[in-house]
Symmetry: C2
Subunit: 233 residues, 2 copies
DNA sequence: CGCTCGGTTGATGCACATCAAAGGCTGTGG
DNA sequence: CCACAGCCTTTGATGTGCATCAACCGAGCG
């Protein structure tokens, strides 16, 4: 991992767009990011690892990270794809002296604002409004997990269509139907708990039918209505 | 639903055992429960319903509730089994004017302490310590969802063994290996996203082998080591 | 007494995992 | 600069875990 310290000021403008910080003064945002600095992680590099002591949390600034948890059999399951604006690691800040429950790996070169745990315990708790907004973020993460659990009875076609939509929803630009991160079929399989081959079979079927296209690990939805219909059938 | 108002004092002793309230003065606990009252829900009755306005959250005092979410196909998926000490509905308190994302149904006669939303927004946010403990509770809920997601590649035997252990962990009495709630095979199936028949087949197999026994919807683990071994194989 | 609800068992079929083999593309080191 | 390893993708052949359908039993209950 490459540690490239920047002045926080440079990133303040990025931060002010994030929902958690809406309506706060610059001085308040600075307090909430006290001791923070930006790190750049190249493709495939770890941001933090499952089981290591949780010293920091923070925001995804650009790029993307996959959050994964090793299964007892050694295979990794991808729990979540985090994109710019997402907070990572807050859950674990509340508990004293605990370890990260997940690992975090960059999908393509990515930037992350690391904020030390002490800042959370000292400053974040002082802003009821920020706490509530943070809980809203957590709440939507939980809801996504709930939705995926509900899909567990559906067939693979529906599940796959569903995650594609979930990922697409996180895109900033609502007009572009390209998924906002480079993603392999293996990663989709690891997220769905299925095999690569099955994902490939379904997706090449869809490519032939003109439902979507893949260009250099970037998936573009061509027929959104169709995908949504498959997801809920 | 039967609304049976009790004096809060009667339940204060129950509350002081809950981890969220550890180390607080009685007056503080009273502030956190301001406007609260106890409701008794008979078997199969709703505590609240998916989609209805979220006016309250609260604590399970006795019995149990299943939290479920209707799937697009009309089938209900059970997301979580909540037992005494659990907080239900906090996630949704943070967002203004929102609806319950899940329904909650009593499994056997149960008691619940309803606390109005205003109390959360007004009083809870004032106690940084309580906020952190609440987040710890949420965090363990999220972790359970993560663990289940990791199990998605495992076979049904492992998954079933796993949920049995998860439920058993929530029991207060650590020496008794009986699950702390009455549960049908259908409910286990709805939680696992599988069919009743499959659950039955596996469990009667285990009964014959002396791994567990069922008496009147109460499941008792006889060979815990075996169950744990199955869960992680 | 008929009803519903929970549990059980067997027969059949399909969706998906698994195994195998092969081609393209990227980066790395001799 | 070429060879080789490793990753991503693809396609086909084969097997199986589990869903689905169907039928039946016992217990509780109005």
């Amino acid at each position: 991992m490459i540690d490239k310290k920047q002045t926080l000021k440079a990133t303040l403008s990025e931060l002010s767009n994030f929902p958690v910080f809406q309506g706060l003064k610059t001085s308040e945002v600075e307090a909430l990011c006290e001791g923070g600095h930006v790190v750049v992680t190249p493709h495939h590099h770890y941001l933090f690892q499952h089981g290591h002591d949780a010293h920091f949390f923070g925001f995804v600034l650009s790029g993307a990270y996959k959050l994964l948890k090793p299964s007892p059999q050694g295979e990794d399951t991808i729990i979540y794809f985090s994109t710019p604006g997402d907070i990572i690691g807050v859950l674990v800040m509340a508990q004293p002296g605990s370890q990260y429950p997940l690992s975090s790996i960059a999908m393509g070169p990515s930037r992350f604002l690391k904020i030390p745990r002490e800042t959370y315990l000292k400053n974040w708790v002082q802003f009821p409004d920020v706490i509530l907004k943070t809980q809203s973020l957590l709440s939507s993460r939980i809801r996504q997990l709930h939705n995926q659990k509900v899909m567990s009875k559906a067939n693979l076609h529906s599940k796959l269509a569903f995650v594609l939509i979930e990922i697409l929803k996180k895109a900033q630009d609502k007009d572009d139907l390209t998924l906002p991160l480079p993603i392999t079929r293996k990663e989709l399989a690891d997220n769905l708990g299925t095999s690569v081959e099955s994902v490939i079979r379904i997706m090449s079927e869809w490519s032939k039918e003109g439902v979507l296209e893949t260009k250099d690990q970037h998936i573009k939805i061509l027929d959104l209505k169709r995908v949504m219909q498959i997801a809920s059938s």
